[in-house]
Symmetry: D2
């Protein structure tokens, strides 16, 4: 695959903040390069589930936003790209802390993008979850 970024990390982060009508950034893009992203969902208390471990919805959110960032950064500000499938495997308990997402673009076609995201929590180097997902891209504007 010959991948090229068409937006910077800052542009993507700003676009996501605006698109979600958030009053301040809620998702941090730490590093963006062709085919991959390192991003982070900063810790908030809603992210915990019984047992004080990071919840499934928090992990899903981080995975889905990392995929959205990969799609936007490689195809431009196509806000209506949407998730078609997302499969999450939960591996280990996530300690309370930021959710770190390491995303990789596995395929970028004309109609679909397929990605994988590895998720870790706080300072723990162990994988907490792994996600694979597909986004459907809007028809190219000509």
């Amino acid at each position: 695959m010959d991948l090229k970024l068409v937006m910077t990390a800052d542009e993507v982060a700003r676009l996501i903040t605006q698109a979600f009508k958030a009053d301040k950034p809620f998702f941090v893009i730490d590093e963006l390069s062709p085919g991959s992203v390192r991003a982070r969902l900063p810790f908030e208390t809603w992210m915990l589930r019984p047992g004080d471990v990071v919840s499934g919805p928090a992990l899903f959110t981080a995975a889905d936003l990392a995929m959205y960032a990969l799609v936007l950064s490689h195809t431009g500000p196509q806000l209506m790209a949407v998730t078609s499938n997302l499969d999450l495997n939960f591996l280990n308990k996530g300690e309370p802390g930021d959710v770190h997402a390491e995303g990789t673009l596995l395929k970028l076609g004309r109609r679909l993008a397929v990605m994988e995201v590895k998720l870790r929590c706080g300072d723990d180097p162990d994988l907490v979850a792994i996600a694979t997902g597909t986004y459907v891209l809007p028809p190219a504007q000509r």
Copy 2:
């Protein structure tokens, strides 16, 4: 499968509210019967994504809580039952509104429970998403 409820809808709803340390119920169980549940995540504005459609995290949350309710109601207050895998297919845009979850227990073994949840939004009868998932059950207490 010979399935029997061991908790009522009210008991499960109260347990979930307490377990998540919520000050008021945030998940409604409309109907519970052996092997199935109808439940609902009442609408809140955080549930929308760009385009004013219901977001993936909101759909994931409803699916995961419906599965949790199925596990708890059939096995008792085992709060540490945890999601092992959750696969979500997004089918149609979800209009702003409550997320309705219709869950079915496909397998209840000693170690794993496998479930399916159909998701709809607001008054629209069309399916918005379908989830299949696996919960790992804690070892039986003896």
Copy 3:
């Protein structure tokens, strides 16, 4: 969804046999109606795995062919429709016997079809596996 069949069960079965260059039918379509199919992979010894239970590849094959039959019967002889994602949950051991597949079309869009298939083996009424999957449709020929 307003679904309409554009091919008969016989036409679909014949098309699949030809497409796979098989010298005789290896997949039986028992019933076809708008949005659903009942089909069958007749038993052969290659389908068993250790423990004399039906293998994952045999279940996958039945699920994938049932989805292919649903796509073909609703969109016409588009042989190049391809599987994009297939998620299989294995529920119970499958006794040696035909693999019965009961498929439902959950979404038929212009670019994607999403389906669910329930799998049973032999005469056992219990579910052996459940599959959800996505097919990418070739661009419409005009």
Copy 4:
């Protein structure tokens, strides 16, 4: 994770051949190390689907056997370890040729093993599919 092999590649390959009652090896393990495997399903004509590309069942078979090899090599000859969930994303057409599987153990718990397998075909370096899956381990024999 502290992973240790308890069987050699040859022992695992022989065990799989016997377990499937095959008269000769049908799955090659090219390299085995703690936490990972490189294996191969040698090409046969049944593996092709319409369009002369490698079929889903062939890719599923290679992914599932690579996971089985990972489980056996790290836990011993537990033939009754069974697949609980397998999710496959198809990325690119697979040219006729051996199916190469590169498997990684993501989690090895007492009850579940979670793995990822990357699949390529023939000499093409591009990914053809990626699988994530869960195996349920039989209760430890004591």
